[in-house]
Symmetry: C2
Subunit: 356 residues, 2 copies
Amino acid sequence: MEHGGDLLTYEDQYDGQLIDFSSNINPLGMPKGLEEVIIGGLNSLISYPDIKYRKLKAAVAKYLNCGVENVLVGNGAVDIINNIIMTFDKVAVLTPSFSEYELRARVHKKEIRKIPYSKDFSIELASLAGLQEDELLILGNPNNPTGLRIPKEDLLKIYEIVRGKNAFLLLDEAFFEFCPEDYDSIELFKDEGYKHIAIIRAATKFFALPGIRLGYCCTNEAKVEEISEVELPWSVNALADIIGQFIFNNKKYIKDSKAYIEEERQFMLRELSKLEGIKAYNSHTNYILIKLEGLTEEDAFTHFLKYGIVIRKCSSFKELGQNHIRIAIKDRENNDKILHAFKDLLNKSNRGNRYE
Amino acid sequence: MEHGGDLLTYEDQYDGQLIDFSSNINPLGMPKGLEEVIIGGLNSLISYPDIKYRKLKAAVAKYLNCGVENVLVGNGAVDIINNIIMTFDKVAVLTPSFSEYELRARVHKKEIRKIPYSKDFSIELASLAGLQEDELLILGNPNNPTGLRIPKEDLLKIYEIVRGKNAFLLLDEAFFEFCPEDYDSIELFKDEGYKHIAIIRAATKFFALPGIRLGYCCTNEAKVEEISEVELPWSVNALADIIGQFIFNNKKYIKDSKAYIEEERQFMLRELSKLEGIKAYNSHTNYILIKLEGLTEEDAFTHFLKYGIVIRKCSSFKELGQNHIRIAIKDRENNDKILHAFKDLLNKSNRGNRYE
């Protein structure tokens, strides 16, 4: 399955350092002070991580403002997604969305139902009417690759449908911290005790640490107990354990990153909207889905690679066909670079010189 | 499920630093130069690990002396064990052995057959006569908690049985490097192209890096391909990726560790055999299974904890009942400490003062 971030495959095709617009990492880099924490924690590698991750779960619970008994941790968000899927027989996924939802359901031989997003990539509530008892509904919030948050009112209605059917909602919020502060689903479903919901977040993207592999989740205690029966032991490595206990306290980094991303998102959406020959979809997060007119993803990919830029082709999201790409929002210098490369691409294309 | 290495649970019960005899880690500590490698690799955390682990697999292939197309890597050996189990419907495990074999088979709802080891913990070939087509037979080599290697002639005969039945053998050699150099299963089945076998090794124990989570495996190319369809993406974190590329080159560390363990194993087996009231089983690796006479594992555990020593109770291996413990082989200073504590335990016990 194709994913972003695979620069190694292309490094021979460009003479210099590639710029990764294909995976969506905080452009401010990892939080300050982290190197010291890691170096101080090297000694932890000679022991097994705490098999119960007591300190890490306490740090996550404090950060999320939920009970420690509600917390799951895993080897990246995808590990937790996989474990939750294992505990259901039926899985409903919306399309297009993160490919691993469907893939993990297929690996575990689950009954899979695909429900299309509406044309503007919002969720039509009527499309959820067929939800079944004990079915797991997986929603990205914001969704990947479309970048849209579910409006609060819609989410509450979706939860009502899920509860009414006695189904279960897996809300993948791996990009939560990049979004404008509209609502916090952890707060929203606290009174419910997360009875029909699991909310996944990740250190991967926002804390610019995809290499460390740390995902976490808030759900009801019974589900936490059930997952503990299926999850692998020591799934979170000892450094991720230590790092997780550090990063959440870094309030200034979190605030600065949110502000930075907000500004760059507005800048990129504005600049991209001026370009003819592409349609940039609205985004609430740190990546933007773009539809190409008269060009294929392959044309664009080849073009950008000449500038040392790796973008994400989107044909692996089958519903999107061959003419969509996804780009990350990075720092201003790199954002300017990709805008410049876009202009060159579209100029060539508009002059009728089909890009080869 | 109970595992060794869970010191956190007991830290309140002893005033000082606990000594971990419950997990089996190289007493020489992690290889020299590793800190520099990790510090130099911190920058890798801000990118996803290579999703195909090309450099890591090349390093493993070179170390194991097998083809790079034969290599699997995972989030510790248990991750690979889990993935291999997923690709079979029927699983045969010998008892007693590492609890995760049966547990992972149960999680994935496999048909499980349990085959007992003989009384001296060797494998009776006749007990494998019932092996079925497409059944996965899992053997620890050396086995955990018993510590015995399968003699080369027996292993070849077992493989013949497995091949004759068109079954598959998963050989868990996570403790391989601690053993005397009798044979190398990677060499033994090379001509076969590993058609009916997967051999798992781990960085966890020998390189004293259980925190980093890195397991690897050698099997046939078709099985590697099949596993790639079920394994989680980015299962090995970026630092484990880098560390794996470093440790295998450290030939002096490997040689020194083997010699050190060999000497301490002989020392411990000799000293333990002098004690009345326990039976220390022979071991080919860095841990020793011990049967207590007239004492329970709980008696022993409570006693050792007063000396700041955490041992592994073995009743979670159900076949062993309440009177077996497992201890790691550590450095001489600590080995002397546990021998001293043993003498006190057995003196009390032999004087008729039942330990309370």
